[in-house]
């Protein structure tokens, strides 16, 4: 670990979760695990915050949940992306990219 992990920007977690779910339905642990893998622990995410986010997304009907059974035959709550969720992800991704491009354009040496 080179530095302390980066603090998460507001709303970013939602996009990360939605993105993760595009690979298929999974449970909260699965979401946390793949985000950690992808970001190589660069981002500091409390697992608790992840669940709060997931439940909020469900309330907004961007994801839906169903109880199912894991490979290890354990009962777990599986989340999957809804149609609205997919649309929101597209919109958020575009927003994020524009934001990131703008910021990096300023920061990059001319």
């Amino acid at each position: 670990m080179p530095d302390r992990p980066l603090e998460l920007l507001q709303g970013t977690l939602d996009v990360l979760i939605l993105k993760t779910l595009t690979w298929g339905p999974t449970h909260g642990y699965g979401v946390a695990h793949s985000i950690r893998l992808k970001t190589a622990d660069e981002l500091r995410i409390d697992d608790g915050a992840l669940y709060t986010s997931l439940h909020r997304l469900e309330q907004r009907k961007w994801v839906r949940s169903e109880w199912g059974v894991t490979d290890q035959n354990r009962r777990a709550k599986f989340y999957s992306l809804t149609k609205q969720g997919r649309a929101a992800l597209v919109a958020r991704t575009e927003q994020w990219t524009r934001y990131a491009t703008a910021v990096s354009r300023v920061l990059q040496p001319a």
């Binding site: 697992d47 309330q59 777990a76 709550k77």
Partner: protein, 919 residues
């Protein structure tokens, strides 16, 4: 047990949910287990793995609390959505069921539409007439109409509204009771002179009348206090909105213009708001100041004259005085004044009545029976109509409940199946109520659409000249109808509900194809009997009024109302002196009598049914004559009067031109007068005296008047009773105080009376350029005012009675048709066993009678009780008139048989083989 949500929705199972907390705990537990397993796999000790997992998770307690909050909200949202979804689903399936059963639904909607439409219309009218103050009048409870209860020996107490000017002034100045009081009166006046003269209803009002009622002028202003004074050289007039439109085309420039009303000239200063008619609903065309107009319109000493009771009074009670205290103070003041003036009113009681007529002095009950003098005929009729309309709605409701009951019976298996599948009874109830409410709502909307037309119709036929807006549905009407719709929906939906409650699911499912053990339901029978009884009641009412009306129409009035007209023109201020007056009428008679459209014409002092003169009589050698309730009446006429009126001279002769001022005093008396003056004797050739006040108010006898003719009894003076004693004297010999004149004119045979009336009016009007409006009316007009109560009764009971009968017959038809369809199998068996068509027909008709007869008997019972209330409204008909009862009974039976014919035909057409094979 959990179901995937989709299926749960599909089957409409009650939503069974695990508690939110457990779900959250399970989810977090799984996460911890998985994380710990991951760390263990990386080689950490169980202790380290657990610590690391907890670190990664963050504040568990906080997260749990957050999750719980979020999920609770989601959960509530979801429940709401489920409920809405269920409702939408129910509405959809109800609509589908109703559309599938198109015929029944249509029956129901039509029935309810008629019932609701009748009630909405009547509510609109009753609301306007009885439940609110007149338009534009403040609803301040302290604003009151003054009524006066007077005791009269031998006649009991009588409530009226009129008082003399001094009486009004006493009330106005009673500052302990009232902060202010205003007086008003209405009179017919002539607008303009000569050929363009127009008849108007003038409202004479004190200047404070308008601010007291809280009304504002639509244009311009009402009167200022200093304009309402005697002799004001430039008096104001305020036009009604309607008159401004009619007469002046709604011209905005009209303010400031001068118009002539009778003899006075008035400057238009404003236009009253639309619909404003003061404290009543009778149309007023123009408002003029009381103190300016009264000297000319009534009497120069009107403000000190105690004998003329003419003014109606509205008053504002002081806010610090209770209504009772105010009434007591006003009564004391009023009685003191009357005692000082030695008037009969010294025992009168002042009553403060609300501006809302229904809360008037005698309330609805007093108004319905017409016991007191107040409460207009139209208001009374409307209140009765509203009751009748409510009965019709009750019948419609019963009928609809019945139809829905039948439908429910047919759907018994469907309902049982749904109950077996686990639908809750509450849910089933909602669905059944929804169906009836949807039907009621559709009917209610249709009914509202009917209201304007129906109101127009009633206004034209029943309500006479009342000025009420054309029944545009307003908020109160819509709310009332919505209330009715809801009540009807629940009432009609409850019946099938009661059925489903009693239903044994197992039995119903086992019952088989014919579904039918619900052939006879007590509830259904009750509803049918009730419908029959109520229709019977209304039809008996109709019958009694129709008989009354026929009796009235058959009366020999002593004149011919459809051929004879009365023509009058007000000469005050136009001709001066007795001679000029007589000369004018002599010329008028000459000119009118020779018109080609006129058969004959004569002069008369009084107008039939509108004015009368009674003078004391004395007979030589008789001490005194017994007192009469009415009359003895006197009229002075020119010779052709009897021919013109169509009045028979039964003995002796009529007047001739020779019976003039210089000749011997003669008279023609009615048969009843002959018996009154000379009982048991031959009246012809006898003589009697008329007693009159001379100019010094001293009693004086005329010379003895010889009876030269006996005329038939008439209803010229007393329409209802008839045959009041009457005498006629030649106009040239009449007592000098009888200074009033009209022309009686008979249209020539073969000429339409209306054409003759037009000719007469034109002729009279052209007799002088400065004449006020010449008024010519057929005698039918005052006669129909007299016969209106019976016409109204006959029309309203007839209309609603027929409506009720039709609705009841439809109900009977559908019930019997249903029953017969249920028993098709049985009929097949009967026919197979040798029953004849006649037997089957008898069976069906027997069913119909079993519903109709109890209804008939119950209806007669209700009628015997109910018609007592209308006894005073009938004419020469007993409230238990057998002809009516039998006639209506036969009608009801005929209608029931008619309703049974269709089903009976279908029953005897049943093919035995097919019916048996069906099982």
């Amino acid at each position: 047990m959990e179901h995937p949500r989709g299926i749960r929705r599909l089957l409409r199972f009650p939503a069974g949910r695990r508690p939110i907390e457990r779900e959250i705990d399970d989810e977090i537990a799984f996460h911890f287990d998985a994380t710990v397993a991951e760390f263990l796999a990386q080689g950490l000790t169980p202790e380290e793995a657990r610590r690391e997992a907890a670190r990664r998770f963050g504040d568990v307690t906080q997260v749990r609390r957050d999750l719980h909050q979020i999920d609770s909200v989601s959960d509530a949202q979801e429940r709401r959505a489920d409920r809405m979804g269920a409702l939408v689903h129910d509405v959809r399936s109800a609509v589908r069921a109703l559309v599938k059963d198109r015929r029944v639904s249509l029956f129901v909607v039509i029935t309810l539409m008629l019932g609701l439409g009748a009630n909405a219309t009547m509510f609109g009218i009753v609301d306007r007439l009885l439940l609110r103050p007149p338009p534009h009048v403040s609803s301040d409870p302290r604003l009151t109409s003054i009524y006066i209860r007077r005791q009269s020996q031998g006649f009991g107490s009588f409530v009226g509204r009129s008082t003399s000017y001094p009486g009004y002034a006493a009330l106005r100045d009673e500052r302990g009771a009232f902060s202010d009081a205003a007086a008003y009166w209405s009179a017919v006046a002539s607008l303009g002179r000569g050929p363009d003269a127009v008849k108007v209803n003038a409202g004479l009002a004190t200047a404070n009348f308008f601010p007291l009622l809280g009304v504002r002028a639509e244009r311009g202003r009402f009167f200022a206090p200093d304009e309402d004074r005697r002799g004001n050289p430039k008096p104001p007039v305020v036009l009604s909105h309607g008159f401004w439109q009619r007469q002046f085309g709604g011209d905005a420039q009209v303010i400031g213009r001068e118009i002539q009303l009778n003899q006075g000239f008035y400057t238009i200063v404003g236009v009253a708001p639309q619909g404003f008619n003061g404290a009543s609903l009778y149309p007023i065309d123009a408002w003029i100041p009381m103190h300016v107009a009264a000297p000319e319109f009534t009497n120069p000493t009107f403000d000190t004259y105690q004998d003329m009771r003419w003014l109606e009074v509205v008053a504002q009670r002081r806010s610090d005085v209770s209504a009772e205290a105010a009434a007591a103070r006003a009564t004391a003041t009023y009685q003191r004044l009357m005692r000082e003036a030695r008037k009969s009113d010294s025992t009168a009681t002042i009553l403060l009545a609300s501006m809302v007529p229904a809360r008037g002095v005698e309330g609805i009950g007093g108004m319905l029976t017409g016991k007191s003098g107040s409460g207009s005929l139209s208001a009374r009729v409307s209140a009765w109509l509203a009751i009748v309309a409510a009965i019709v709605l009750a019948i419609a409701c019963a009928n609809v409940a019945n139809l829905l009951l039948l439908r429910a019976a047919r759907r018994r298996r469907e309902i049982a199946l749904r109950l077996a599948l686990g639908i809750s009874r509450a849910r089933l109830a909602t669905q059944l109520l929804l169906e009836s409410t949807i039907l009621a709502t559709v009917s209610g909307l249709a009914a509202l659409a009917l209201v304007p037309g129906a109101t127009q119709l009633l206004r034209a036929t029943l309500l006479g000249r009342l000025d009420i807006a054309a029944g545009r549905p307003d908020l109160r009407l819509v709310l009332f109808t919505a209330g009715c719709v809801l009540a009807v929906g629940v009432a009609a939906g409850l019946a099938p509900l009661a059925l489903s409650r009693r239903m044994d699911v197992g039995d119903a499912l086992k019952a088989g194809v014919r579904e039918g053990s619900v052939r006879r339901s007590r509830l259904r029978t009750t509803l049918l009997v009730m419908q029959g009884a109520l229709s019977m009641l209304l039809l008996i009412g109709a019958g009694l009024f129709v008989r009354s009306l026929r009796n009235v129409a058959r009366l020999d009035l002593g004149f011919d109302p459809d051929r004879v007209m009365v023509a009058q023109v007000d000469l005050s201020g136009v001709v001066k002196g007795r001679e000029a007056f007589e000369d004018f009428w002599r010329r008028a008679l000459e000119q009118v009598a020779v018109l080609p459209s006129v058969g004959s014409a004569s002069q008369s002092v009084t107008t039939p049914l509108e004015s009368g003169w009674a003078l004391d009589l004395e007979v030589p050698d008789r001490d005194s004559l017994p007192p009469l309730a009415n009359g003895p009446y006197i009229n002075a006429v020119s010779p052709s009067y009897f021919t013109t009126m169509g009045m028979r001279i039964v003995k002796g002769r009529a007047f001739t031109a020779a019976d003039d001022a210089g000749a011997a005093r003669v008279s023609v008396i009615s048969d009843s007068m002959a018996r009154y003056l000379f009982p048991g004797q031959e009246a012809l050739g006898k003589c009697y005296y008329i007693v009159v006040d001379d100019d010094n108010r001293k009693k004086k006898r005329t010379p003895c008047i010889t009876v030269i003719g006996i005329s038939q009894n008439t209803r010229v003076h007393e329409f209802r009773e008839g045959g009041a004693p009457e005498q006629y004297v030649p106009i040239s010999q009449s007592p000098s105080l009888m200074q009033w004149r009209v022309l009686m004119v008979r249209a020539r045979d073969g000429v339409p009376a209306a054409n003759a009336a037009l000719d007469v009016r034109r002729t009279l009007q052209s007799m002088g350029g400065n004449l006020p409006f010449a008024d010519v009316r057929l005698l039918r007009e005052p006669v129909s005012l007299e016969t209106r109560p019976w016409e109204l009764g006959a029309t309203m009971f007839g209309l609603f009675g027929t409506l009720a009968l039709v609705i009841a017959a439809v109900g009977l038809y559908s019930t019997i048709a249903y029953e017969m369809a249920q028993r098709a199998h049985e009929f097949g068996v009967r026919q197979a066993l040798g029953a004849q068509r006649g037997d089957v027909g008898r069976l069906v008709v027997g069913r119909a009678l079993r519903y109709a007869l109890p209804g008939l008997i119950l209806g007669v019972g209700l009628a015997l009780l109910g018609t007592r209330a209308v006894r005073t409204l009938l004419f020469d008909v007993s409230p238990v008139d057998p002809v009516v009862y039998v006639g209506v009974g036969v009608t009801l039976l005929a209608a029931s048989l008619l309703a049974a014919i269709g089903p009976a035909r279908r029953a005897w057409r049943v093919d035995p083989i097919a019916a048996l094979r069906e099982e």
